[in-house]
Amino acid sequence: MIPVAVMDTLQIVVLVAVAAGATVVVRTRSRVRQVLALSVYGMLLAILFFVFQAPDVTLSELTVGAVALPVVLLLAIAKVRKPEQ
């Protein structure tokens, strides 16, 4: 059987940062700011995957979570935004 690893400091720091980032996304009320927070959160998740030794998942998360999804959401918000706002 493989010896069970111990979580190192960097992994704990990044896990805490991801939990904090997710909380910020949920607690943000303004839609545009929420999308930007989501983008930062995607970046944090990408760092998390990198620290946990999954560089290929990092690349996917970096592009989809931090770039593609926020762009599509911002465009959708721009489309439905009311003129007076």
Binding site: I2, V4, P55, A68
Partner: protein
């Protein structure tokens, strides 16, 4: 149900949830403990069997290649469905003069793109496209793959839009071309698998020469080829999706 009853209902349910959650946590294996035999076996065999040093790609495009075909067509169906829905909306809008007036009110104040945005975005287009292309064509040797490469390639097009060059964005990515590239990417993957059937092999069997050196770019047979087709499909699908959303947004802006 009165508010009091509702609160009790919530408290009981929350207590049950917390209890189940803690119980599940207590039964989790230790951190980093991997009891599955399959992963260890793949790690032992993959490089020898496929000549791909990117073992994740070997799993994605060879051992579990059939799953990846399914995922590929999920994205294909999503992009196709989205363009169908948004195109119909655009036609409705164009044939409806009352909507135009409302649109004109909406898009009055669109500031021009600043140089601080335009210059870095344009500078990043080339490197981004290069990285995307590299990733899509090096799945067999490195921790990359068609999906990551395709999305990064698509973000090069998004950068062109961010630099304020919407017309260049549209000229570089006409919808008909994107549709064709996406179809070629998705069909290429399926066709590589079907070709194996013609040769009396299992679907998606790796029938191409594996190359002499594990880790060479020309090695790993169908894995590299499939990854490249996935890259084409994903890049086209993402540019198509973002482009359709952009057209929807700018339609209103442009009529102002």
């Amino acid at each position: 149900m009165t508010p009091g009853q509702r609160r009790w209902f919530f408290l009981i349910a929350a207590a049950g949830l917390v209890a189940c959650y803690l119980w599940a946590f207590a039964g989790l294996p230790g951190f980093g403990d991997y009891p599955g035999p399959y992963g260890q076996e793949v790690l032992r065999q993959a490089v020898r069997q496929t000549h791909a040093t990117g073992v994740v790609s070997a799993v994605n495009f060879e051992y579990r290649g059939f799953d990846t075909v399914g995922e590929e067509f999920i994205l294909f169906a999503a992009a196709a469905g989205m363009s169908v829905v948004l195109r119909r909306l655009r036609q409705e809008r164009e044939s409806e003069p009352a909507g135009e007036a409302a649109n004109q009110a909406g898009g009055a104040a669109t500031p021009a793109t600043s140089s601080a945005m335009r210059v870095p975005a344009l500078l990043m287009v080339g490197p981004t496209a290069l990285i995307g292309w590299w990733l899509a064509s090096h799945a067999q040797t490195d921790p990359s793959g068609g999906f990551q490469g395709g999305v990064i390639l698509a973000s090069a097009f998004i950068l062109i839009y961010l630099s304020g060059e919407f017309l260049a964005f549209r000229r570089l990515s006409p919808v008909a071309l994107l549709d064709a590239v996406e179809a070629v990417g998705a069909a290429g993957f399926a066709a590589i698998g079907l070709a194996a059937l013609v040769m009396n092999l299992p679907y998606l069997d790796n029938y191409l020469p594996l190359g002499q050196f594990p880790g060479a770019v020309s090695s790993s047979g169908t894995i590299a080829l499939i990854s490249f087709f996935v890259g084409l499909e994903v890049a086209a699908a993402f540019v198509l999706i973002v482009g359709e959303f952009l057209s929807q947004t700018l339609l209103r802006r442009r009529s102002a």
